[in-house]
Symmetry: C2
Subunit: 222 residues, 2 copies
DNA sequence: ATACATGCGTGCAGGACTGCATGTAAAGTA
DNA sequence: TACTTTACATGCAGTCCTGCACGCATGTAT
């Protein structure tokens, strides 16, 4: 029997229960959607009582806010975990695959539910914005390191955000029940396009001089 | 006083009430989100009673299903309405702008709410899938006509769906509260990329031979 | 060992929403 | 004009969810 069999110290108990609640929250979001997610069900899945939940997170909104950070952390781990620093000629395609995998899993589904809910929930949105922003930044950072000096920073950012948005759209399509084959095809096409764009170092911008680079990167997250 | 001041015939009354309810439903989806949308509020906004609603749509699910079709119709009108058949060298950029405008308005926001809700609501999803599929097809058709024979059909479809997905992602970003300047920048970049892709008639595919074209186009809609 | 703090369970009240049953007025029909 | 159908309103019941108060047990400090 491991030393983790049953938490004896308060700190351990606290951490375990909180984690159980937050994981259950994410599960609920994935399985039932935001509107179907109720504290009752969360507690049921976590194997805890309403009282326990209320002890740790007084209100439902508080629980959701905490779930946001928990989710961001797990997403970050997922991205970092799958990043195998692809190098070589096909590295861009691999990077896109990576982003796609990261943004089409269960965690991202939960994030989507939260974001859509946050649209009409001021409090939730305030909780999510900074967390999501930080996640976006750190993810971009990972790719920036992986790219090294091969790619101008600006070009990389453009491709990164375009890819993020394409994958977001494809993730939605997958949610909806779109054709997987079509998604795969589009992803392949996008890889080819992104690769060729990345390689054309001197490609002209939208019109003549390219617009000023945009600072202050906001939310990806999904 | 127009002849429409107060509907006298039953058929008219019916059509008016139904339209009022469905429009109110869409308004609610935009303002309150799916989880915040309640039949009570819908009736309040429509200026009708619960009884009236129930007379036309027995259950809430039925009302939502009808709202889906209503929404699709309005979206289709919107797309058709703004389509001014842009021709000339910059037509691709204009077309992308069009798609973006169509997919980032209020109606699309409502559609997004419905789609996200449909993910965990089998019944709603069954209602939405065919409607959305038809909408996607007809929209693509519009662009196919606009493009004429200038662009290979396959290339057009790829660009169309990629654009749809990019705009979907950007629409999400807008919802969330992302930076408008960044979205504008990304849209410009995408226009440039799409244009260059469209013009390079002989650009190689993902690898050597391009994959078989994918049939059976499913859902865009958002 | 005693007193306090923390983690957690149970029961209840208030509120909200959906669905139904009943009633009334207006439109259509013979 | 008398009768039927349709459109719409009102009231009520059942259900579900959230938040709170209280009670018990287990850690923790002195």
């Amino acid at each position: 029997m491991s030393t983790e069999a049953r938490p004896r110290t308060q700190r351990e108990r606290r951490a375990r229960t909180r984690a159980a609640l937050l994981d259950a929250t994410i599960d609920c979001l994935v399985d039932l959607g935001y509107s179907g997610t109720t504290v009752q069900e969360i507690c049921r899945r976590a194997g805890l009582s309403r009282g326990a939940q209320q002890h740790h997170f007084t209100t439902k909104a508080e629980l959701m806010a905490a779930a946001v950070e928990h989710l961001a952390g797990r997403l970050r781990d997922e991205v970092r975990g799958t990043l195998t620093a692809p190098q070589g000629p096909r590295r861009i395609g691999e990077a896109i695959d990576l982003l796609w995998r990261g943004f089409s899993g269960k965690l991202s589904t939960a994030a989507l539910e939260l974001w859509v809910a946050a649209r009409t929930d001021e409090e939730l949105r305030r909780s999510m914005l900074p967390v999501d922003r930080a996640l976006g930044r750190s993810t971009l950072e990972i790719y920036r390191e992986a790219a090294g000096a091969d790619l101008p920073a600006e070009r990389l950012e453009t491709l990164y955000w375009l890819t993020v948005n394409v994958t977001r759209g494809l993730a939605l399509d997958a949610m909806i029940g779109g054709d997987p084959a079509r998604r795969a095809h589009l992803l392949d096409e996008w890889k080819a396009i992104a690769t060729s764009v990345a390689l054309e170092a001197g490609r002209p911008g939208p019109r003549s001089g390219r617009p000023a680079p945009w600072k202050d990167i906001p939310a990806p997250g999904l």
